[in-house]
Symmetry: C2
Subunit: 359 residues, 2 copies
DNA sequence: GTGAAAGCGCTAACAG
DNA sequence: CTGTTAGCGCTTTCAC
């Protein structure tokens, strides 16, 4: 069913049908209702391909994701979709599937440059009006989308060279979480760091240290552990840190561990349990990410929720601003996280510290 | 940059350039290399809109998902993408976002019929060659995609009327898991059911019962609990079931609980811990789904992995078979799950039962 | 208020 | 082997 067939059935010209559909020129009520009736009867829907070709705009947004199975990706896509629906854009999804290709060697992305070039060409050939690139890990992505003829917005990652970006504030959030622990009277505060080579890991650590410094707290080296973002590694590292070695007493043990993601926080929970330490009575713990796993542990974890959906919203809004030429400057947006208050931090101010002897 | 411009630069006709690009007619080596050189230099990529319009096939697949944030969806999409890349199809994603609209009232989908009609119209107007509909929950979806002029494949759900479907075997998998428990010598086997109104819940329960019946095992009503797929509900139900009430002895307690998803299995773990029951020594547990959460518990959970990626593969393959007319029959594929062997089932054959007294 | 007609970028007869 | 040309379905200018 084509527009021409509708025109023939209605006994009008194709132009008139087009005017009716797009409200692009005044049409008499009589003609309009006649045409609309036929459109409804026939179930006609216009051919976007032809329309886009003629109009030279597709109202199509390319979403290029590094890996759709990485948990945060779906939420960002969801956010993008919500705005896209409102603004009458459609989205075409390209999935680089980098997880199976480079795993957690996030910075070796250039190995996949050929794949990426290829997918970008696909998107360009589909005449997308703009591209949103969603990272699997928050980090610098340079020289990936080169000299794009259309606007690009990076989400959950960023580029120095070109394109705007939408991210969340790692440093400030870790600062806030650490503050909370300090405000509850803790002074012996340990940290469970993410993967050493990871940018968010160092930003989060920086926030942690800033909070300590502002309160004049210094901690021994033994209080800095690395869990590589992983449950198992964090559990092992926490076990080591919390165990009372010879020459040590329970007083050397931290009263709180700031874990830089929820998965590691759960690892700390398990280590604590194995040592007979109760949370938060004997050990306070905080997480980061507000991952699913945090819903299934007792006591509930104090953590920070990343504004994923909001990042999706903003990514598309910024892209549309670029497309329409309203705002063509490079823009780097960084959103705050939301603190989720759980039961995993003991308030030492009202419950003075006792020696951590375990059960 | 258009094909015509390439032709002008190369001093040949548009037809020749088209032949070079599509290998659709023999071209002399000299002409070919001249044209290819210019294409490379200019970074030209063809306009898919024009090409699809002319060819009357878009090589575009519409993926209509009920909710992209539901965990299994991304893995299915990933599977679809893998095949799509191989077969040179692109995918356009439409997200109905039903989770925020109907939550777990899965069967009230008709409330959203207008949204769905709208999205399908969008896909049709994009001239997609076929549609894959991904459910947020495995159930019957009738009268949703009506009289589609193009092939439809349902994935993680099904339709009686039209379209093929790709699912996994709930009944058989629950049967297998229960078998495993029986084979390890258990006779006092309880079940933690999913949401009563859910189809997979009743299929899984059916498989559970079939295994019991085949071994001539009957269980008291008290061994059938409902956890509504949820951690909290399962924990509460397990607590009730495992607690020793007056008039009961520990001998009345089940030695194993077959939980119909991993989230509920974790709930059972917590209940067991609260009662001082060790897993698997005092209580055996199985899960279902192979969810992320199962990676973060001790001891590791015996569960079943759904073939999500494979379902994605097959959904697209079946769709392409339909599109190309190779196979136009309605086809309902049901794939087996993979049993993941954990440490959560005690073998009573080699370790004769002792009274479950807790710690 | 309506229609005729050109043309978006490309493909595929067909002719040579 | 290569070029000419007619459209794919639609929008939009320009007449009337």
């Amino acid at each position: 069913m084509t527009l021409k067939e509708i025109a023939d059935l209605a006994g009008v010209s194709t132009a008139t049908v087009s005017y009716v559909i797009n409200h692009s020129a005044p049409v008499s009520d009589k003609t309009r209702s006649k045409v609309e009736k036929i459109i409804k009867e026939t179930g006609y829907h216009s051919n976007m391909l032809a329309k886009s070709l003629r109009r030279n705009e597709s109202r199509l947004i390319g979403i290029l994701v590094e890996d759709v199975t990485v948990a945060h990706t779906a939420y960002i896509i969801d956010g993008i979709n919500e705005i896209a629906e409102k603004k009458k854009y459609n989205t075409i999804l390209c999935n680089l599937r980098l997880l199976s290709k480079i795993g957690s060697r996030f910075d070796d992305i250039s190995e996949c440059q050929a794949d990426i070039d290829n997918e970008i060409n696909v998107l360009l050939s589909m005449q997308v009006d703009g591209i949103i690139y969603i990272g699997m890990h928050d980090r610098r992505i340079n020289h990936i989308v080169k000299n794009s003829p259309i606007p690009v917005v990076y989400c959950y990652c960023y580029s120095d060279n070109e394109g705007s970006s939408v991210r969340y504030n790692n440093e400030q959030t870790a600062y806030q979480l650490t503050q909370m622990v300090i405000n509850k009277g803790h002074r012996k505060i340990a940290v469970m760091n993410g993967l050493k080579t990871s940018e968010p890991a160092s930003l989060r650590f920086k926030g942690f240290m800033r909070a300590l410094e502002e309160s004049g707290i210094s901690i021994p080296d033994a209080y800095v552990a690395t869990g590589n973002w992983k449950f198992d590694d964090a559990r092992a590292a926490a076990l080591k840190m919390l165990k009372i070695e010879k020459n040590n007493t329970a007083d050397d043990r931290p009263t709180a561990i700031v874990a830089m993601n929820d998965e590691m926080a759960v690892g700390v929970y398990y280590a604590a349990e194995e040592l007979g330490l109760r949370i938060p009575d004997d050990l306070s713990v905080t997480g980061f990410d507000h991952a699913d796993v945090a819903r299934y542990i007792y006591p509930s974890l104090t953590t920070a929720e990343r504004p994923l959906q909001l990042m999706g919203y903003r990514a598309l809004e910024m892209l549309i601003e670029n497309i329409s030429g309203e705002n063509i400057c490079q823009n780097n947006a960084i959103y705050p996280c939301t603190i989720i208050n759980g039961e995993s931090i003991r308030d030492l101010n009202n419950n003075p510290v006792k020696t951590n002897m375990g059960t």
